[in-house]
Symmetry: C2
Subunit: 150 residues, 2 copies
């Protein structure tokens, strides 16, 4: 594991105990630009034979403390992605943007762009907004390239 020390530091920063399982899961999540499901992670960590309950609990722990965030997919699964803060542990309530590829069903995590006005309009109408998720559907660059070339 390349960044073991980084992962350990990250866990400690979020007041999570350092365990092998958590390091493995962090490693998997840190090395993909897309959000992964419990099944994806299980598959990637097959050689370590991680218990399904432990993995669920690990992912929930990551989510609860703000180290990762969960996205619900169209097909009723949870996907998890690291939510690495630039510095201090950030709140779970911060803004996310996700791109859902309709071809390969991968979910890309994107930094939330500023500059939309929906927020202001809704606040005028009495909605108190604490976080927002902006979800785009379409075709990701990878699939788009494939289709273009055929």
């Amino acid at each position: 594991m390349q960044n073991e020390n980084l992962y350990k530091e990250l866990l400690r920063r979020f007041r999570l105990k350092v365990t092998l399982t958590r390091l493995h899961v962090l490693d998997v999540l840190a090395n993909t630009p897309v959000a992964l499901s419990h099944a994806d992670i299980t598959e990637q960590l097959a050689e370590y034979d991680i218990d399904k309950v432990t993995l669920y609990r690990t992912l929930n722990a990551f989510t609860k403390c703000g180290l990762a965030h969960k996205v619900a997919t169209e097909d009723r699964n949870w996907l998890y992605a690291l939510h690495m803060p630039d510095d201090a542990p950030s709140e779970v309530t911060s803004d996310h943007a996700h791109f859902v590829c309709d071809e390969c069903e991968r979910i890309y995590c994107l930094p939330m762009e500023t500059g939309n006005n929906t927020r202001d309009i809704k606040e005028e109408q009495g909605f108190v907004i604490r976080s927002q998720e902006y979800r785009l559907h379409g075709t990701c660059p990878e699939c788009h390239t494939q289709f273009s070339q055929q």
Copy 2:
């Protein structure tokens, strides 16, 4: 049922056969500003004793033809809301905005406001965008009023 004829016309427009169950479900969905779950609808239609499988199939049929759309909630449930087109049957792929109240967990369906630039930025990066969902979390006017008054 007040708008029975409207519902029948709507079903026919979407090439769905007119059945009692579908009329009841349409009636429930048409008379709420929030998206409803299978459980919500079951409860509201308790007197008609609608089979759970039939309700799932009804909701899926509505979604498939574009009469309704599905939203995945934070707690891994589906919520359904009518997607009444102004005129002709519209594609399922059109844009939605949802407001999720963190107090009462209702999901409000909102028309998608224009004027955000995330779309453009992503398209530059090679993402082909076909629909977008913008999800806001916070407190809805109703709950906000309650909390303010206490």
